[in-house]
Symmetry: C2
């Protein structure tokens, strides 16, 4: 029992629980449960059920693993377990850690999903044995997880690493930057996440932009994704070329500035957009190389994430 | 003896050594010695002399304090004591820590001057008892010092916190960003440090810009400084207003993004430009407020640096 730990990855549509071998990071058993309702009590019940199923499959009681770690797609006030803002769950200031702790009867540690993923990669993935690690994630959202001096850095309130919410466009007379899901204007995420790129392409096509994206989705705008823009880019479509140039510049510059500020030994790239759109990833790395401070790149290595969708549950299980 | 520590602040023109009370941070004795030559051996001799004078004034032997900490205005490879790049000293890859250690006979710890200043403020100044602290310095140069999780974060190579070298302008067809002292283009420092602001104003006046700066310096361009621009701003000079708007936007946005990424509990502002030009500082804080992620500002407090020019020697003396 001592060698096993329980972790939960709580997204917007599923709760996934896993029993993880503390020594190897191997997933011994796991269970994914859809979130039918999003009220905090309902989610606690779903998480309990998923934990029970995963633990049962591994032949242990959920409470026997001592402490449960949870990664949540949202802003988490680290020490308190309060989920400040989780747009996909529709939560604001939910004391999720306390609720789950009461229901489960063991201590619960809650952290942001990317912090947890970075910790998983540091313990068992693309950053094993490395003390200073930045994980950058570009998928449906944009964010980062920071391991500094061998420890998870989640900040004074637990919201460090919010790369998606640094500002990359400022309001000007006659220009209003795109609005982000967080409510603010001009965030990196508003310009570069999969969801926001797709929304922008739909808007621009609706407004008359000429692009082969439209024929690739056979006129069905609901099918527009970052992958389709990548396909259009491969066909030399001028609209896709210009869009990827802009997205790559914003991502490359932002990640370069993050590396210049933190001087990590390893940069890990993850998320469906970065890993699934090689042309965009290549352009982004070129912009990164141009913009990063040369002193911060001595000894820096760049790797793709190893653990994929498992990073969250693994990292959560072995959170410190 | 056990209660005293020795620190050195090594700038481009002086070496200042101080004997510091470990418990209170009080400077018991100090000595400032001009750097007559800048070769590494000559600087080691000057530092030794300054240490000897300061220690003598406090009635101790320099080697009796156990370990000596040194803050250097430049990029330092933390653990090794190698000064990678110190433009004011003209050094590249100088093994200063080892040289001083041999000469002194006690262990030496070398770090960047702003890292050391942040550590001083954390121990005895504007961030006492706070675990996550960002110190931003805008003076002749621009930089930051990072205290994360109660420890100095100087990064994998010791060059973390290089706020002055994040990129704020990118090359475009027909536009080349200003070149920074580090050799790269478009760094924050190239647009906002005292030295660079003054250089730009001189260039623009020489190129015909109309501004009351010229009458304030009585036609003597050598006397142009950020303070003079601040004076012109107070007179409503249109050139100064536009320049401060640009500088404040770049500084405010960059510091906001740093805070969004790291979620410190305290932001400390220091350096002659920020502290000596209240109109610029005020504009900068307004831009900061607009751009920072709201989640990162819960519980954030902003303070001016307390220790001023003493932060370096004090922080160096008590480096961990």
């Amino acid at each position: 029992m001592k060698g096993l730990a329980l972790g939960v990855d709580l997204g917007g549509t599923n709760a996934r629980a896993a029993v993880v071998d503390r020594a190897t990071g191997e997933i011994v058993a796991s269970h994914k449960e859809p979130l039918r309702e999003r009220g905090p009590e309902a989610v606690v019940a779903t998480v309990l059920h998923a934990l029970g199923q995963a633990a049962g499959a591994a032949g242990i009681a959920p409470a026997s693993a001592g402490r449960v770690g949870v990664g949540v797609a949202g802003q988490v006030l680290g020490a308190t377990g309060v989920v400040m803002n989780a747009p996909n769950l529709g939560w604001r200031d939910v004391a999720f850690g306390t609720l789950l702790e009461k229901a489960l009867g063991v201590p619960v540690r809650v952290a942001n999903d990317l912090s947890v993923a970075a910790w998983g990669e540091k313990r068992f993935g693309a950053a094993r044995g490395i003390e200073d690690v930045v994980l950058v994630f570009v998928g449906s959202g944009v964010g980062s997880g920071l391991i500094l001096g061998g420890r998870l850095h989640d900040g004074a309130q637990g919201v460090a690493g919010e790369l998606g919410h640094i500002k990359v466009r400022l309001p000007r007379p006659g220009f209003t930057p795109r609005r982000c899901g967080c409510g603010q204007l001009g965030c990196l995420e508003a310009y570069t996440s999969g969801v926001n790129v797709a929304a922008r392409v739909r808007e621009e096509i609706a407004a008359g932009a000429a692009t082969r994206v439209l024929e690739l989705v056979e006129g069905d705008l609901a099918r527009v994704t970052a992958s389709v823009v990548e396909e259009a880019h491969a066909l030399g479509d001028a609209y896709a070329v210009a869009l990827w140039d802009e997205v790559a510049e914003l991502l490359g510059l932002s990640v370069a500035n993050l590396v210049t500020l933190l001087n990590p030994a390893r940069l890990i790239l993850g998320g469906g957009v970065l890993l699934g759109a090689p042309r965009l990833a290549d352009l982004t790395l070129r912009r990164f190389d141009e913009a990063v401070s040369r002193s911060a790149t001595r000894g820096l290595t760049v790797e793709r994430a190893w653990l994929g969708d498992d990073a969250g549950v693994i990292g959560a299980a072995v959170l410190e």
